[in-house]
């Protein structure tokens, strides 16, 4: 165990080795490891982001689906309402139309009846005049009695 020049030689070798490691060995290893760490971190972050956006998209799709359903239901109910309205309208119109037709028919019937009555009256009056002419024959002056006969025919 004696200290000698070996010590200085070893110290120099040590210094060179340290320098070599500092310069050439450590940086590439550190770079590779740090780069990998960063890549892994980035990948994890991207996965997280993807997950989050998927969740958002799912929520959105569920929301729009609900909206669409609601809208469809609204449309259907509106359509039903409209259909019942149309039906109601149609019913009312039909009823009015029917009423009007009935009214028209009644008026026509009345007219017919009046006309038939008129005709009948005319015929009855002419029949009555003819009958009276036959009964009275000469005694009747057509001119003197025609006023009275017309009055009679109107009263019939």
């Amino acid at each position: 165990m004696n200290i000698n020049f070996t010590l200085i030689a070893q110290a120099i070798a040590f210094a060179i080795l340290i320098w070599f490691t500092v310069k050439f060995v450590w940086p590439p290893l550190l770079g590779a490891i740090e780069k990998r760490q960063k890549e892994i971190a980035d990948g994890l972050a991207a996965a997280q982001e993807g997950k989050a956006s998927l969740e958002i998209a799912e929520k959105k799709s569920a929301q729009s689906l609900g909206e669409a359903k609601q809208k469809a239901a609204e449309i259907i109910s509106q359509a039903e309402k409209r259909a019942s309205e149309i039906l109601e309208d149609a019913k009312n119109q039909a009823k009015e139309e029917g009423d009007r037709i009935i009214l028209g028919a009644k008026a026509e019937i009345d007219q017919e009846v009046n006309r038939a009555k008129e005709t009948l009256r005319a015929q009855v009056s002419s029949l009555a005049i003819a009958g009276a002419e036959k009964i009275l024959l000469k005694e009747i002056d057509k001119k003197a009695h025609s006023d009275m006969l017309n009055k009679l025919a109107k009263e019939l």
Partner: protein, 268 residues
Amino acid sequence: MEHEGTLSSPSQYIEHHLSFNTQGAEASFWTIHIDTIVMSIILGLIAMGLIWMIAKKATAGVPSKAQAFLELIFDFVDDQVKNIFHGNRHTFIAPAALTVFVWVLVMNAMDFLPVDIMAAVYGFLGIHKWRSVPTSDVNTTFALALAVWFLMIYFGIKVKGLGGWLHELYTAPFGTKFWVWPFNFLFNLIEYVSKPLSHSLRLFGNMYAGEVIFLLLGLWAATGVSGLFFGALLGAGWSIFHILIVVLQAFIFMMLTVVYLAMAHEGH
């Protein structure tokens, strides 16, 4: 286990295995341990070179198995540093910690090579004194600890400024009163001396003791059949236990390095 005829006595055997391949005048400061330096540099080049080859091709996508293994080590070191040092660790401290951990680990791991077989291999290459474990040479551990020590002072001055650092030498930990300055300085002096000593001697002691125990077991194995049996059995046991020690000591050395450097960044 193999045994060289010329080294028959136990003390000779141990002395042979624990002597360095020296270059230069014996017992002078300018001596160099060729084995320590060559082994540590080769191991450093192989280990950091391999890591560099993997790091160069590092991809942020699916990693290769080698890269995944390297990332385990990287994360392990980075986590430890992150818990201790709160600043920009990537510019120096974390890579320095990785260097310390890997280099000390591979140097410690040389302890697994069986001493006598390696001696035979080296002998075959014409080398007769060669110690495989650089960290069981106090020069290596002290060199590392001293380098960390200088870094400590460097960062202390860099972060607090020269004035701030000197101020802290005299005012921490007991306070700023004039009469406690000498005590503060003495306290810091002891701290600055004891840090590199404990840092280096802990690793050195563990590795050296590990080697000595392997040698003793090798000696035992040379005494006969029962010695061979128990020597081999205990040698295997010690090897397995040593896996823990090798990794643990490398880890402790790295942690202390990080702790010292982190302390230099923070005021008392």
